[in-house]
């Protein structure tokens, strides 16, 4: 990688073209899916929700990553902080897409959240019981709150980060730390409630206290995997000469550790319901294990747990770019499948498969994501010239 390196990223033409192709094909595929699945448009809507939530989650993981590192007074990530900042550039698109799914749901175009349907609610005692929380106005208010809090803080962190590079003073850092701590408090609440709203309320009779943390762990791991891939990709192009093996090793350690953390939460939720075997609770897993979803479930656990556990265990594999990128890609795929098996059984029963709606939704959002994130990377210099803790980050060794 001895190519002349620049601190200003320019979006490679091939990647840009690829993102346009993905968006174009995805959009065309989406329109075609709506025409093809006229009688069963629910499958398309469900896929829209899955993709929109998945990529918004990754974007949110970037903001969370920044907040945690600022609060934790950590320095090592400073050199690569443009990447989590750039993830936030996708967030408005993701939020708009989620808004589209929510509004069409409210209008009754699809039945992703059956509790929104007045006829069903009228005959369902449990939905009536839950209606103090699960009602359309309150749901919309919550959605607006999430959007404002998540995107608002994403913008604040970006702005503060750019200011930090002009000032580079500790006083400014303390100010950033206040914002970060505030975000973390709000995020502690919204991460759980948003998971209940968008995903848990699909299976409206079912409930689990751990659900919010489990969903959070999923997009947090995916976010780390995406950051790792972007970092290694930019490095392979010759950018980020300041990023050394230790930075990559640290991100890969996170990928390893939080894959296990995700498994811990998934297992805790599953095992406790499996063990107690209460019909209202275990039905959730029976719908996913005793049906055609079983292969998906098993593949998902393999990709999200077994693979990173075995492959990323050693120091050498975490420091090897090819291995790390391969595992990160597979982990992202695994968490997409995870989200798929969360949403589909409750909305579509066993009517699923790998068809046009699946591929086109993923392509559309992946294209949009790549485009917005890399466009965001172009905006400012990759490595800040002056920032608190930059020096620590440049001399990072483990």
């Amino acid at each position: 990688m001895e190519s002349p390196t620049s601190n200003n990223f320019s979006f490679p033409a091939r990647l840009k073209t690829l993102s346009f192709i993905l968006m174009g094909l995805g959009l065309a595929g989406l329109v075609a899916s709506f025409l093809l699945y006229r009688d069963n448009s629910q499958r398309v809507w469900s896929n829209l929700l899955i993709s929109a939530f998945f990529f918004t989650g990754i974007s949110l993981a970037g903001t969370f990553f920044l907040a945690v590192n600022i609060v934790g007074e950590s320095g090592w990530y400073t050199v690569l902080r443009r990447i989590p900042e750039a993830l936030g550039k996708f967030m408005p698109f993701g939020l708009v897409a989620l808004a589209v799914v929510v509004i069409t749901g409210v209008l009754g175009l699809h039945k992703t959240w059956i509790w929104m349907d007045k006829e069903i609610a009228a005959t369902d005692e449990l939905i009536q019981h839950k209606s103090a929380y699960l009602n359309v106005p309150f749901f919309l208010i919550r959605f607006v709150l999430y959007a404002v809090i998540w995107y608002g803080f994403t913008l604040i962190f970006r702005k503060q980060s750019l200011q930090d590079e002009l000032l580079g003073t500790l006083d400014h850092y303390y100010k950033m730390r206040k914002y970060a701590a505030t975000f973390l408090v709000l995020f502690a609440v919204t991460s759980s409630t948003s998971a209940w709203d968008f995903l848990m309320s699909i299976d409206v009779h079912w409930f689990s206290t751990l659900f919010g943390w489990y969903i959070f762990a999923g997009y947090w791991v995916s976010g780390i995997a995406v950051m790792l891939i972007i970092l290694l990709y930019l490095k392979s192009l010759g950018y980020f000469p300041q990023v050394n093996q230790s930075h990559i090793h640290d991100l890969a350690k996170f990928l390893f550790a939080f894959s296990i953390f995700w498994t811990y939460l998934y297992f805790s939720q599953f095992m406790l319901y499996f063990y107690a075997n209460i019909p209202e609770e275990i039905i959730y897993f029976m719908e996913r294990y005793d049906t055609e979803y079983r292969p998906l479930l098993l593949v998902m656990v393999g990709l999200n747990f077994v693979l990173p556990l075995l492959v990323l265990m050693t120091r050498d594999s975490k420091r090897n770019a090819q291995i790390s990128v391969t595992i990160a890609t597979l982990v992202i795929l695994g968490h997409y499948i995870d989200l798929y098996q969360i949403v589909m059984p409750g909305t579509n029963g066993t009517n699923f498969g790998l068809g046009l709606p699946e591929i086109s939704c993923f392509a559309l959002f992946a294209g949009l994501f790549v485009f917005s994130v890399f466009k965001g990377l172009e905006e400012v210099a990759l490595v800040p010239a002056k920032a608190t803790f930059l020096d620590e980050s440049l001399h990072h060794t483990t």
């Binding site: 449990l126 839950k130 759980s192 689990s208 206290t209 805790s268 406790l272 107690a276 209460i278 209202e280």
Partner: protein
């Protein structure tokens, strides 16, 4: 007193506790969980903070690890006592035996506890002792009393301080840190399974494993603060355990306390959301029933009062910190009491509802374990190096206050010349 009452308990039977048919688990398991939880901070400081490269852990890890071991000893006594027939305690181990095809019940989380706790105890002990070896050698080299020299010679296992010694030491430390990280998380998860695998309202909830772990770290740090603030004063360790350390521990208390708070509220919300009659009642009963006072002690001690640590003045105030550490310890004891007793005493059948009153044996044994714990800790601080000397040396140049001052003086001198 504790020993006497334990003897009385074992001689007479578990009937001397305040248990009854409905409340068949109370102070015994409350104390067990409380002690195990306290143990967690030591491992967190030594293993997880090591992995997160937090250097400030080095001046507190020795005592915290000692505390872990003593707390786990206290915890382990309760299941043994609860067996009633302590002489058959080895039946909990899956040993091939002469009783016919009789095996332990591998399906029971109580058995998982046996494995989890005993593994945790041995690894913690190994970790702690490994760290002590070079320090024992230092003590040995400075010892003038021949008898004590022999003792420290044995305990330091022939440590010479050569390169090979250090290399092996580092390797073992890393492996043990890697082992104890999943262990510390698994231990309290398994403890939570004791409750959560059941179908008792208020126990059976999926958030239990991570929430118990957070609660354990929370209570453990409170106990570390209680012990260290006293030790710092008595042994004049103000230069080693600074306000900075105290503040960092208080920050961990805010974080874990808030996680526990979020978990309480999540449980409360989902119990309503679930629409399950029994779950709802379990929580109404907790907050308004005859034991509501314990619920509100728990809430105020664990969730509300730690929020005061957001104020920098308070979290750097030693007297306030000491007071808060006691408050958190009390709160976490009541958390377990609330979970265990309020869920049991009014179960599915109103005709079987009872109240729970501890007997003097319950109280005495609990106080007895406190005594054992503090005695062990005092013995430790009397004879062992309470601060990891060897480890601290490695960061003295970067973080030591005296060193910093010296360097600053040097810099001034340079600028003058």
């Amino acid at each position: 007193m504790g020993v006497g009452l334990i003897a009385y308990l074992i001689g007479t039977g578990v009937g001397v506790w305040g248990l009854n048919r409905t409340v068949n688990w109370a102070w015994d398991i409350t104390n067990f969980v409380w002690w195990v939880g306290i143990g967690h901070a030591g491992t967190l400081i030594s293993a997880i903070l090591l992995l997160f490269r937090q250097r400030w852990r080095m001046s507190i890890n020795r005592s915290a690890e000692a505390m872990t071991i003593f707390a786990v000893i206290c915890a382990g006594m309760f299941p043994l006592m609860h067996m009633g027939r302590i002489w058959v305690a080895y039946w909990t181990l899956p040993l091939p035996n002469t009783f016919g095809p009789l095996w332990v019940n591998f399906n029971s989380p109580l058995l998982w506890d046996v494995f989890a706790i005993s593994t945790y105890f041995s690894v913690s002990l190994g970790f702690w002792y490994t760290g002590l070896i070079p320090d024992f050698a230092t003590v040995r080299d400075r010892q003038t009393i021949p008898f004590m020299k022999i003792i420290y010679r044995i305990t330091s296992m022939g440590w010479k301080g050569g390169v090979k010694d250090w290399q092996r030491f580092e390797e073992v430390s890393l492996v043990l840190a890697g082992l104890s990280t999943p262990l510390v998380l698994s231990v309290h998860s398994v403890v939570s399974f004791d409750f959560a695998t059941s179908v008792i309202p208020g126990w059976h909830t999926t958030i239990f494993p991570p929430y118990f772990v957070a609660g354990a770290i929370f209570s453990g740090f409170a106990m570390v603060l209680t012990l260290l603030l006293v030790m710092r004063k008595v042994l004049h360790l103000e230069d080693y355990i600074t306000i900075y350390h105290v503040e960092n521990m208080n920050k961990i208390i805010i974080v874990t306390g808030s996680i526990v708070g979020v978990a309480y509220i999540t449980e409360l919300f989902i119990s309503w959301y679930s629409g399950v009659m029994y779950e709802q009642y379990a929580f109404i009963n907790r907050a308004t029933g005859p034991l509501a006072w314990s619920y509100w002690i728990m809430m105020s001690c664990n969730v509300i009062s730690p929020q005061l640590f957001w104020i920098k003045k308070l979290r750097t105030n030693l007297v306030f910190t000491f007071f808060m550490s006691l408050v958190v310890n009390v709160g976490m004891w009541f958390e377990r009491f609330v979970i265990i007793v309020t869920s049991l005493h009014r179960d599915f059948l109103p005709s079987a509802w009872t109240m729970f009153y501890p007997t003097y044996v319950d109280i005495g044994i609990f106080i007895g374990t406190l005594g054992i714990f503090f005695t062990l800790f005092l013995l430790f601080s009397r004879t062992f190096p309470v601060i990891a000397i060897a480890e601290l040396k490695s960061i003295l140049k970067i973080s030591g206050e005296a060193q910093k001052k010296q360097q600053a003086e040097k810099a001034v001198e340079h600028s003058i010349h």
